[in-house]
Amino acid sequence: MKFQTLRKLIDCCSSDGVSIGQLMLSEQAKESGQSESDTFRQMADYYGIMKEAVRRGIEEPVPSRSGLTGGDASRVHQYVSSGLPSLGVEACTALAYALSVSEVNASMGRIVATPTAGSCGIIPGVFVSSQERYRWEDRHLVMGLFAAGAIGYVIANNSFISGAEGGCQAEVGSAIGMAAGALTELRGGTPEQAVHAVGLALKNSLGLICDPVGGLVEIPCIVRNGFGAVTALAAADMALAGVRSVIPSDEVIGVMLEVGTAMPAKHRETAKGGLAQTPTGRRIMKDLYGANRSRQENGEGESTKP
């Protein structure tokens, strides 16, 4: 790839006279040796899987594998049709769709990691609701996924995208930044505005810990995907209105790396701190694993080098 930072991404777009999505598509085709049309088709297949996951969680709600969660997407979707949401119908629909995909994930259904499974609801929530609202063709959204991927590529290589390495800021935070930047471009913003949206969004999730109850990608992951979709809409709106990220977005990514590196292990997906270790979190863990512990464990505490 010819860009390693968001600054360089903007420069490449402006010297080639292309959007972020177009630049990513042609760079990907070059990297893989595949044609642009095959590369596009792959991403279009992924968008199809995302739309199906949005639909499934709303129309066929299923409980998660643990039985702890499920059905919230459908609840919020029905509430939207009551006309009452404080967020307004559009943002609340993005929220419902993001919850939907995350619930499908928790039920071991099929999703696309964007950039991870723990954060798989945010981009589909923003994209599918915006497609309905603005009546965009699929093709437009697929190019938006390339834009989101370009932003995620820079974040992943300069910081991290896994909760085990950098906390929830690395997963949900990265997804919000990617969705915000991509939506800014989809709505006609410049690459520069899209990159400001990334920085604005990332600043809002710095420090967010990864503390899944019982180690499951459910509590609080699913609601954080819902919140994430709404935050992405807000960041894109700010950027389109001309709000700038005074701390350049590449520097914000550097802060995410600094904060994630300093984060204790108990707040990085080990379920040893945060919400997972509240009295209720511990009780849930006991209920889940207390009974069938022997099936799964026969060497806990052993110390061996890999």
């Binding site: 790839m1 390693q4 760079e27 990907q28 990297e31 040796g33 991403m43 297949d45 992924y46 594998r65 643990s66 499908v104 994930n105 928790a106 039920s107 071991m108 259904g109 099929r110 999703i111 696309v112 990691a113 950039p115 991870t116 499974a117 723990g118 798989c120 981009i123 996924l145 989101a148 991927g149 370009a150 995620g152 590529y153 992943a156 290589n157 896994s162 909760g163 085990a164 390495e165 690395a170 997963e171 899944p212 180690g215 990608v217 459910e218 990085r268 997906e269 080990t270 379920a271 040893k272 694993y289 799964q296 464990e297 026969n298 806990e300 505490g301 052993e302 061996t304 080098k305 890999p306």
Partner: protein, 227 residues
């Protein structure tokens, strides 16, 4: 660059709930199976770090079993993989250990069968991406994003040149290579990531080179999105 392309960020298509603990874990299991060269009779899996703490909740045991069964990350049979492994005659044992130096999501797989044993260590680094970090005690690093050739051989002058001549002579480009040896003139492992899979006829020419012990091709790219 740890992440090479757009499909390591948007993707893979997978069965939930966790790209590191489920999606990446399937790929670690599948890579190990390909290196081993078939379904092992027995597999012992040691989990470290976040894998050790949370594998039950994420179904990482199901995911590794599914990979050893050669399933893809979006195969709906993953949720039944432990039962299927049992029915296939593969004996699995899951253990947890601690190693602060390892990446937080690391698994060590010991596969046995046909009088052979392979020990493979892999880490799941986010978004379904993996890094294999050791094979049979050799410290080598590779990603399974490309067709990967593993050559176990004795360390001697000209060994690498002999292999390069065969691979490069046929127009196959090596994108990345890693070599580790147990000591001077000792046993060595060379790992090559190539832009296209090394065909069987070239593998055979490498296999018959002096001091080559074993050649295997681990290639997930035919079933996965090309990177």
């Amino acid at each position: 660059m740890r992440f090479k392309d757009v499909f390591s960020i948007i993707g893979p298509s997978m069965v939930g709930p966790s790209s590191s603990h489920t999606g990446g874990a399937v790929r670690i299991g599948r890579a190990a199976r390909r290196i081993f060269g078939g379904l092992p009779a027995r597999a012992e899996i040691m989990f470290y770090g976040s894998f050790a703490e949370t594998y039950r909740g994420h179904g990482t045991d199901l995911a590794i079993a599914a990979g050893l069964l050669d399933y893809a990350a979006d195969d709906m049979r993953i949720r039944d993989a432990l039962a299927i492994a049992d029915a296939s005659g593969m004996k699995l044992a899951f253990k947890t250990g601690s190693n602060p130096a390892a990446h937080p999501n690391t698994a060590r797989l010991t596969l046995r069968g046909d009088g052979r044993e392979d020990i493979i260590v892999g880490s799941s680094i986010g978004g379904g991406n993996i890094e294999l970090t050791a094979v049979n005690g050799f410290d080598v690093k590779f990603t399974m994003n490309y067709p990967t050739l593993l050559v176990f051989h004795g360390d001697r002058p000209g060994m690498l040149a002999d292999m390069m001549n065969i691979v490069g002579g046929d127009g196959i480009n090596i994108g990345y290579m890693d070599v580790d040896r147990k000591g001077r003139s000792g046993e060595a492992l060379t790992v090559m990531e190539t832009d296209e899979a090394v065909p069987g006829v070239l593998m055979e020419r490498i296999r018959v080179l002096p001091d080559v012990r074993r050649v295997c091709l681990a290639d997930l790219t035919a079933e996965e999105v090309k990177s």
